[in-house]
Amino acid sequence: MPVPFRASECYLLMESTAILRKPIPMNIDARARTDEELMELVKKGDRASFSELVTRHSSKFYGLAYRMLASREEAEDIVQESFLMLWASPEKWDSGRKAKFTTWFYRVVANACLDRKRKAREVTPGEDFDPPDPGMGTEQILENRNKREDMERHIAELPDSQQTALTLCFYEGVSNREAAEIMGVSVKALESLLMRAKATLRTRARKNTGTEEALNG
């Protein structure tokens, strides 16, 4: 006569085999865990792991959001929204794809920033992105402008993809390979974006009297 066998025992058997993911030991401090381990625990509703991820990375992702939006308030808003999305739907991160948590979350934050910028443009079309009218005494206007504001404007005028590549690689110090992964493009395409972004900025900086002086020391 067959031995009675409960389905719960079957579940335990499966858990102990390689069919399911290797269990994460629970007696380790959250600070000692990798981001990816923390994410696995967040999926199980572990608040301490979520808090550790926020503490560890909120400043880093704020940096990206600030560079893309040029506003502390908006950047903080985006980072908060993105982390709350992570808490509400942690299954969106798929450990099976072997992506680093930070690579995936950079992408989430960058997308949220692009959405925000797009909505802002719909409300005030072209307000921040129109180049100065050459017929309006541009040189005089530019001479009076702060070099920093000029650079901000030149960068804001770049296409979003070039701006994102520049922000990730130059300002955030992300490797070209990881930046390409974040943006979902090949490394060659990423490098092309970087080259065009910097070429455009150099050209515009040279045209700008103030920046020309800075370049010449």
Partner: protein
């Protein structure tokens, strides 16, 4: 390495030659030692990067992380029991002999495989927007 190639690499890897890939770094240093024009180009790039670094940067509020954690505490934990766990809970109340378990087990494995596959294809949505952006803005894809 000619001037245009050198400028391209400067754009890709930056004015700090220490951060260039090893092979390229050696080529660049050899080219620099024999060309005053390239040395001027490198100096110009350093000044250009200084100008890029003039952009304003405001540090985040010191309590940003705390605010996010507090906001999450207002929301329920995303408890999402696995499919096998749910099924095992259902079946655990019914003692079953082993042969009777074989068929449902195959069914469970089939459904689980479909479930994992569905999740796998869903996760790409986050990447779509940036990739589409590149397609529309730059006129090509990858």
């Amino acid at each position: 390495m000619d001037k245009q190639k050198f400028i391209d690499y400067l754009s890709i890897y930056g004015a700090d030659l220490g951060k260039w890939p090893e092979g390229l770094r050696e080529d660049a240093q050899a080219a620099l030692s024999s060309s005053g024009e390239l040395r001027d180009t490198l100096e110009e790039e350093k000044l250009f990067e200084e100008a890029l670094n003039m952009r304003e940067y405001e540090e985040p509020s010191p309590d940003l992380a705390r605010r996010i954690i507090n906001a999450a505490e207002q929301k329920p934990a995303p408890v999402r029991k696995s499919f096998t766990y749910i099924l095992s809970s259902v079946f655990s109340v019914i003692p079953l002999p082993r042969p009777a378990l074989a068929l449902p087990l195959l069914l469970i494995l089939g459904i689980a495989a479909g479930y994992i596959y569905a999740n796998y294809s869903d996760t790409d949505t986050n990447g779509t927007q940036l990739a589409q952006l590149l397609y529309y803005e730059e006129g090509y894809y990858e």
